[in-house]
């Protein structure tokens, strides 16, 4: 503390010897070695806290380096938040549910308060958001991103199932719809790729030295992940028959076209547009005999295929071909 106050108050660079003579505590060091050990440790500690310790010489012919802290770089700028802005900050601090990010957000909040800003954390809000970081890979990957260091890790692909080592120059970690991804340059593919953190197997290993990874300026991490995660595509309209009183989940997306009887059961013919065509066959098959695909034919076949497999029991299952409409899009 006294070291910080001393170095903040000086315009001149102070040599280690000078600091030793004026800052209380250092004078007690029993030997030069002991002093320099303590002094080095203290300098590291200050830098780790983000204190901008400057090293330099007052005159070109000074024999040794001196130290000072430039007030301009040390101090948080003037800030004054309106009550609604402070409320937004309080809400933002509560967003994280993460050992790494919750602590950092609280550190930021304390500094804002020390700057005179009043933030009421307990104020009730109408909206409460939570972003969790439960994946073990999160901490190491965030640290690698912030250090600009390449990493390697084993990654499990689901279709086909395989675990392969990947080497990545990480640009950022991204939370999209409650799932975490790491985005970066895949060294093997020599292309940008994103990986889901929940599929990282085991330890994240550091490769090379910090500061070697540089994120291209024009990359929008969020957009990259959003466009890679299998968004909905336009699809032709689907015509279904749904039994009376059944299929509420289907009906709420659909428009009734006419009455129709199938297999002696009264029901409606409905039309709907699919938001997620890849998963439509599974969704509709789930309704079993209560829903029947009339159009398109390819969807009707896909649903029948699934139900047939489910009806035939487990003996055949391991040898079954993948469902025909499955196109490997990550779900």
């Amino acid at each position: 503390m006294n070291l910080v106050l001393c170095l903040l108050s000086t315009r001149q660079y102070l040599s280690a010897e000078r600091i030793r003579s004026i800052v209380p505590g250092y004078a007690d060091a029993p030997s030069d070695d002991a002093f320099f050990r303590t002094f080095e440790r203290d300098k590291t500690e200050l830098r780790e806290l983000g204190i901008p310790l400057e090293v330099g010489r007052n005159k070109v012919d000074d024999p040794v380096d001196g130290y000072r802290i430039a007030r301009r770089d040390y101090e948080l700028g003037e800030i004054d938040l309106e009550p609604d802005e402070a409320a937004a900050v309080a809400l933002a601090v509560r967003l994280w549910d993460s050992p790494e990010l919750t602590g950092a957000a609280h550190g930021a909040l304390l500094k804002l308060r020390a700057a005179g800003v009043d933030v009421d954390e307990s104020a009730p809000t109408a909206v409460e958001s939570k972003v969790r970081t439960t994946e073990p890979a999160f901490g190491p990957l965030l640290a690698a991103v912030q250090a600009g260091q390449a990493v390697s890790f084993d990654y499990r692909k689901h279709n086909p199932v395989e675990v392969r080592a990947r080497e990545l120059e990480p640009w950022g970690v991204v939370s999209w719809r409650g799932r975490w991804y790491v985005v970066g340059h895949d060294r093997e593919r020599s292309a940008p790729r994103c990986f889901r953190l929940s599929r990282v197997v085991g330890e994240v290993r550091k490769v090379g030295r910090p500061g070697q990874v540089h994120r291209p300026d024009d990359v929008d991490l969020l957009r990259f992940v959003a466009s890679s995660s299998g968004e909905s595509q336009p699809s032709p309209a689907v015509k279904l028959w749904v039994a009376d009183g059944r299929g509420a989940g289907l009906r709420r997306w659909a428009t009734v076209v006419r009455r129709h009887e199938v297999d002696g059961v009264p029901g409606d013919v409905v039309e709907l547009e699919l938001a997620y065509p890849d998963t439509a066959a599974g969704w509709i098959a789930g309704y079993g005999a209560d829903a029947l695909v009339l159009e398109p034919d390819v969807l009707a076949k896909a649903v029948r295929e699934r139900l047939l497999a489910a009806a035939e029991g487990p003996e055949r299952r391991t040898r079954l071909e993948p469902a025909i409409e499955g196109n490997g899009v990550a779900r």
Binding site: L49, W96, A310, A323
Partner: protein
């Protein structure tokens, strides 16, 4: 960060904090810094011995404190907090930006102003390397309308009549609820409310609210209505739940990421054995029928039989329908 670093970081913030709030209560300050009043007094005694070289009476930090309150009278040049570190700026600014496009945050403008001010004050400590998109799904045509009604009811403190789709039972019901708050968890918006039909607190997924009408009467959740603890996720295991043991094929492994499952066990050919809890048989049957041959039910046996029977009935109906057209 070590304990000593934690303390130094706190000591650096304490002086400007007290300077901005003359005569603040010790208890209040201790709570803000997350320490005991006793620890705070120790910190203050240490600060008292800190100051500028010379360390005479006029050089040391001067703090006057009595039983309950503290005032800093000389700050020894420590009148501003330390700038934000990169990690701190990241955690705060990324969270704020995520809020800007969160549906239901009614004052996105205030969030933007806060971001601009903090960026200006933080200077070079610009965030990098973390991005958050809550990406709240708003699929159904009615979702925006429902969300607006929910928001209006919350801010006006009114009860709400909703038409709600319960996925577990595949049914649509109408109910009157007393809104408590809106939650966004894992990219989905939820209305937390006292449900007068269930006579309990319920979380309603906003994208499953098909219709919503703000009522004239005030929202009146009973005083014992407790907000849901979301710290461990929204899925709860309940005593009345049953457990199915499933073997998921490659095409069905997504189930283990999408729904909470227990004891995953890798099997040959990329299959995965999991235990899944479920409350409603009709729900689990719909899920498993949709997975077709990509899932095998090891137990309970009755569930496997129901699945086979329902699948066979569905195929038979399809085939009869095809034959008749």
């Amino acid at each position: 960060m070590s304990g000593a670093q934690d303390r130094l970081s706190r000591l650096l913030a304490l002086v400007p904090y007290f300077l901005a709030r003359p005569g603040i209560l010790i208890d209040e300050a201790a709570a803000t810094f997350g320490i005991t009043p006793k620890q705070l007094r120790k910190d203050l005694e240490l600060l008292w011995m800190c100051g500028l070289p010379g360390y005479g009476p006029g050089d040391l930090i001067d703090i006057s404190f009595d039983e309950d309150t503290v005032t800093v009278t000389f700050d020894a040049g420590m009148n501003r907090p330390l700038r934000l570190t990169g990690a701190e700026a990241t955690a705060l600014l990324v969270a704020l930006r995520a809020l800007v496009d969160t549906p239901g945050v009614d004052d996105a403008d205030a969030v933007r102003r806060a971001v601009a001010k903090i960026e200006a004050a933080a200077g070079q400590a610009t965030p990098a390397g973390v991005a958050v998109g809550l990406g709240v799904r708003e699929g159904a045509r009615s979702t925006k309308r429902a969300r607006d009604a929910v928001q209006a009811a919350l801010s006006a403190g009114r009860a709400l009549r909703i038409t709600y789709y319960t996925a577990s039972k595949d049914e649509i019901t109408e109910r009157v609820v007393d809104p408590m708050r809106m939650l966004i968890v894992d990219g989905r918006g939820y209305l937390e409310a006292w449900c007068r039909r269930a006579e309990d607190v319920r979380l309603f997924r906003v994208d499953r609210v098909d219709e919503a009408a703000v009522l004239d009467e005030a929202a009146a959740p009973p005083p014992y209505a407790e907000p849901t603890d979301t710290s461990t996720g929204l899925f709860r295991s309940a005593p009345d739940q049953r457990v199915a043991v499933l073997v998921l094929g490659q095409e069905a492994r997504w189930v283990s990421e999408y729904y909470p499952v227990e004891d995953p066990e890798e099997l040959p050919d990329g299959r995965l054995r999991v235990r899944m809890r479920y409350a409603d048989t009709s729900w689990v049957v719909r899920l498993l029928l949709g997975l077709g041959g990509e899932v095998a039910v090891e137990s309970p046996v009755e569930l496997a039989e129901v699945l086979r029977a329902q699948a066979a009935a569905a195929v038979a109906r399809m085939d009869r329908h095809l034959a008749s057209t």
